[in-house]
């Protein structure tokens, strides 16, 4: 599993991209899906997940849909129309970041 220090800056793009791809997701589902997709290498802690979701919701990048499950409420997060633009920007930025990192860690022989 990667250290928190290493993954910290990439959590928001990961969460945003995942929700955008799946359409709508709830908190627990996000943590499990990321764990499954990365074979447990990235484990989003609950303490980090919800502040990010709430921050994105406050910025109107995400919106919520509440579904009652018996006595409790499940909040599904969805990317808003405005948020789609942010997803595109974030995806481009993260791909560029990966390429830049590979220049340092996997330099091509001259």
């Amino acid at each position: 599993m990667y250290s928190k220090e290493l993954t910290k800056g990439t959590l928001q793009p990961i969460i945003l991209t995942l929700i955008n791809e799946k359409g709508r997701m709830y908190g627990y589902e996000i943590t499990q899906e990321v764990k499954k997709m990365t074979s447990g290498k990235i484990d989003i802690s609950e303490g980090a997940l919800y502040p990010i979701l709430h921050k994105l919701e406050a910025k109107k990048v995400l919106e919520t849909e509440k579904v009652f499950i018996g006595k409790r409420v499940r909040k599904y997060y969805k990317v808003t129309k405005e948020g789609k633009k942010m997803v595109a920007v974030v995806t481009e930025e993260i791909n560029d970041f990966i390429e830049t990192l590979s220049l340092i860690f996997n330099p091509k022989p001259i």
């Binding site: 908190g27 802690s45 609950e46 919800y50 502040p51 499950i69 006595k71 409790r72």
Partner: protein, 142 residues
């Protein structure tokens, strides 16, 4: 494990007890803990509940999450107050300039414009400024 209404009420009450006040945050945490427990094979509620808490980092992390939520709410309020202060400040400048021009040209109601500028400053800008400072100080010591 299948959760009963009693279990859900217990988790809900514990969250309140350990400082989760925000409705939105509580809904998220409650569903997260319940889903975690429901996805485990064991039938020992107490053990699974403790496991779920440990995954969150203990009770202290609930308080941290609530503080984080309060901080986000405060930041939003401060931005709104600052926007209001900026708009009203601009209006005060406009009114002051208009008042000055009216005085120079010796047109009527020059003092009325000046009075309006002073009233806006005293009744709206200053209270908004002190309110924002008060909110910041409460958050600092919470």
């Amino acid at each position: 494990m299948e959760l009963t209404e009693k279990h859900i009420t217990f988790i809900d009450n514990s969250l309140s007890l350990y400082g989760v006040e925000s409705k939105d945050l509580k809904e998220d945490l409650l569903d997260h803990i319940c889903t975690y427990i429901e996805n485990q094979d064991s039938d020992d509620f107490n053990m699974l509940y403790q496991q779920a808490l440990q995954k969150f980092g203990g009770y202290a992390s609930f308080q941290n999450l609530q503080l984080e939520t309060n901080h986000q709410k405060l930041a939003k309020q401060i931005i709104t107050v600052n926007r209001l202060k900026f708009s009203l400040g601009f209006l005060v400048i406009v009114l002051s300039v208009v008042s000055l021009v009216f005085q120079m040209m010796q047109w009527p109601y020059a003092n009325a414009w000046l009075l309006a500028a002073i009233l806006i400053s005293v009744l709206f800008i200053l209270p908004a400024h002190f309110y924002a400072n008060y909110k910041k100080s409460i958050h600092k010591y919470s």
